[in-house]
Symmetry: C3
Subunit: 138 residues, 3 copies
């Protein structure tokens, strides 16, 4: 099922809004981005997944000054799967106070709610090696 | 009032175009981005606001080699306010010649002109502290 | 000729997809982004242009660990030219393993194929100097 253009734009703005809210410290507004039962998969960091919006918010407060000063989101690609789920890939760039950067990939599942599109599942993967660590012979 | 999709896309391209023009040194074309009477609010830098397109252009020339080598714009969120104004939030990433980055937030008001959408007011805020300097107890 | 909104969005996702495929090492899927006879202009790096998809893929494998760990694409501006060609400007941000960044500009020509939009020509220019090296007197 093709996704209407207004939905594609709304979903792109949804993942963009996340960076504004976090960088403003407006964590009380994260319900505008995530479902209340969101699963936030951090296994690539060697952590357990965060279950629910409150856990996501607490984790951000707990990280405190170790959070990046800015979260830039790029390369948003929205795909409506044959199974009816809408998946979104994007790339997150975290800017540290010393001016260096770290890059992650986001793989999101988004759902339509009465209040609009929300992220119900997010998997975060750190970019550690060029070409995903692959070589010609892989 | 909902904004047509073509307007949302045009506004997103408008804030994107700014980076290309500045990084090319095509400051003579900034009228494609700003109104002639644009207010460019730099109070977060401890500076007076720049009044008018000519002042914006002169400030960029005056900054010269201290400008970033590249201006990347991300996280564009367009909102049509009930008061009829169209506001745009975005995040700017400035890349310095040494490969380090600085991040700002842009809060723009855009207006429809005979030549297309233009930015009539821009407020630039530097991202200095994670979570906007907020803590759980705020 | 105006370009339909769905084409504009598809082209924006096309240049975004490139970053995901390269950073995953999914170079076997680059045919989803480039035409088989793509010309990849690297003259700004002092190199000969790469001719064809296979040459682009081989160059990426050959660069190996010297590739950035992440390719972020921003500032996408799509323009349908009077000559019928569709041109796309964007800005690429390469994140190195040490957290520093490099910035390039992409000037693409995209064409509609039976499988969707593809990049048939890409010129890459490195951002080396603020304001493109221009000064007020230029």
């Amino acid at each position: 099922m093709a996704l209407a253009l207004e939905d594609r734009l709304a979903i792109t703005e949804l993942v963009s809004l996340h960076g504004h809210l976090v960088d403003d410290g407006s964590l009380g507004r994260l319900a505008e981005v995530f479902t209340s039962d969101v699963v936030y998969d951090l296994t690539d960091f060697g952590q357990e997944p965060l279950n629910g919006l409150l856990a996501v918010r607490e984790a951000a407060w707990a990280l405190g000054a170790a959070n990046p000063v800015a979260h830039h989101v790029t390369n948003v690609v929205v795909t409506a799967s044959p199974d009816g789920l809408v998946r979104v890939r994007s790339k997150g760039l975290g800017i540290r106070a010393d001016g260096t950067c770290g890059s992650v990939s986001y793989e999101d599942t988004v759902v339509r709610t009465a209040e609009g599109w929300r992220i119900s599942h997010r998997k975060v993967s750190v970019r550690r090696a060029p070409l995903g660590g692959m070589t010609r012979s892989d």
